[in-house]
């Protein structure tokens, strides 16, 4: 796949009149899925053939194992990514920030926190919209804590991270990540709500009375929803593929060259300090989920503890320095500090919990 062609493709113009019917779409989807699975199952044999027969590398050698890891994981992850991003793209066509705001406005706190964390996953919004969204929610009467549940869950529970964890580490780790991510968003948002920090919102936001612009809600047709799925694939896969490839390359290096058990001493269960250090190191690091998960897989393979690694990953994607700088425009420093503190503690608890029970 060439990034240039991906970025420069013109927007598909939806013309419902000439679009094929829903039945045709479903047929194509089933056929596509079948083809996808057939190819997916062959990936390991293809990678082995390429690495050991074509490149004549020694099975079991360092270079051989690193190259096999790269040749197998890259297409596997890209295929999974394309499938899930497409599915989530279609799912998200049912949600808009405007609709989510309507659902959350006036909700009681606990129920609101749970709903907001869930909606954070499926509501599509550009990451740089976080501040306008915050203003929109707060001025519409969405409680502060509920707003935070939404803003925490949106980046933390990320479909890209979920699919990569599933593909590389199995469904149990993926489920743990999904469950604890949602839990942190709910509990952290609820805690911030309990702390009654409304006066730490910048004054101009609190004094603002805005009328939501009444943009007519569009009713989308199925072909339009599928088109949104395709747009999501072009957007997201086109943007993150380079991080995936780089991430897997780093992972392949660790896989082939870092000795087995090396990570056990610094990121293993025995090192109690490793969880807070992992969270602290993760905050200034700004990477998307696509780049971080292959590294996570390789670290785990070398004896790092699951809780520590999950904590590191969550910290990297949920707490980022650039985001704090932008949020500073609407939040006073005390509230930002509480936000980092509460979310960071939640992530640390999750890290310790998994190190303890697994």
């Amino acid at each position: 796949m060439q990034p240039d062609t991906l970025d420069n493709m013109p927007n598909p113009v939806a013309t419902p009149q000439s679009a094929p019917s829903l039945a045709a779409y479903l047929l194509a989807a089933v056929a596509g899925l079948g083809l996808w699975f057939a190819l997916y199952r062959q990936l390991h044999s293809i990678a082995e053939y390429l690495a050991f027969s074509l490149l004549t590398l020694e099975p079991g050698s360092r270079l051989g194992e690193a190259v096999l890891f790269f040749l197998y994981d890259t297409p596997k992850v890209m295929m999974l990514l394309t499938l899930i991003v497409y599915g989530v793209g279609v799912l998200r066509s049912f949600f808009t920030p405007e609709r989510t705001r309507k659902i959350l406005a006036g909700k009681r706190e606990s129920v609101g926190n749970v709903l907001a964390a869930g909606l954070g996953i499926v509501t599509p919004f550009c990451s740089c919209s976080a501040v306008p969204l915050f203003i929109g929610f707060v001025t519409a009467g969405v409680p502060l804590g509920v707003t935070f549940s939404f803003l925490i869950s949106a980046p933390m529970v990320n479909e890209i991270a979920l699919v990569l964890l599933y593909g590389l580490l199995g469904w149990k780790v993926a489920a743990l990540y999904l469950g604890t991510g949602l839990l942190i968003a709910m509990v952290a948002g609820w805690t911030i709500g309990r702390l009654k920090m409304e006066r730490h919102i910048e004054d101009w936001v609190r004094e603002m009375h805005i009328n939501a612009s009444d943009i007519p809600e569009q009713r989308l047709t199925w072909p339009e929803r599928f088109a949104q799925g395709r747009t999501a694939v072009r957007d997201i896969v086109g943007r993150v593929w380079i991080f995936v490839v780089l991430g897997i390359a780093v992972g392949a290096g660790i896989h082939g060259y870092v000795p087995e058990g090396f990570m056990a001493s610094i990121m293993g269960k025995g090192a109690w300090w490793s969880v807070p250090v992992a969270v602290l190191v993760g905050i200034p690091m700004y990477s998307n989920a696509a780049g971080i998960v292959p590294v996570v897989e390789a670290l785990l393979g070398k004896g790092a503890a699951l809780g520590t690694v999950l904590a590191f990953m969550m910290s990297v994607i949920a707490l980022s320095l650039p985001e704090m700088v932008i949020l500073r425009k609407v939040l006073k420093p005390a509230l930002i500090a509480v936000f980092i503190g509460v979310v960071g503690s939640g992530i640390m608890l999750v890290g310790y919990l998994f190190n303890f029970i697994i």
């Binding site: 113009v13 740089c128 501040v131 306008p132 203003i135 929109g136 805005i210």
Partner: protein, 77 residues
């Protein structure tokens, strides 16, 4: 015509601006294009998902990059 592109300035907002510029050039409509990245101003227009396009004070779309066909329709072509 007065076109405003609302967005803090990420890649998507830039894309929306480009589409509007192209649409204006293609339609030949006399229009000014202004980029608004100040959060306070964006909020005052009642918009909270960006990128958004406002034409002569009317919000045309929020939270997505418009297609060129949409943009041309707003310009009356």
């Amino acid at each position: 015509m007065e076109i405003k592109i609302l967005g803090p300035g990420c890649a998507k907002c830039g894309e929306a601006e480009k589409i509007m510029q192209a649409a204006v050039a293609e339609s030949g409509v006399a229009a000014t294009i202004e980029k608004i990245s100040d959060f306070q101003q964006i909020a005052k227009l009642g918009v909270f998902s960006t990128p958004a396009v406002v034409i002569d004070g009317v919000v045309k779309c929020v939270g997505k990059v418009p297609s060129k066909a949409e943009a041309l329709a707003w310009l009356g072509r």
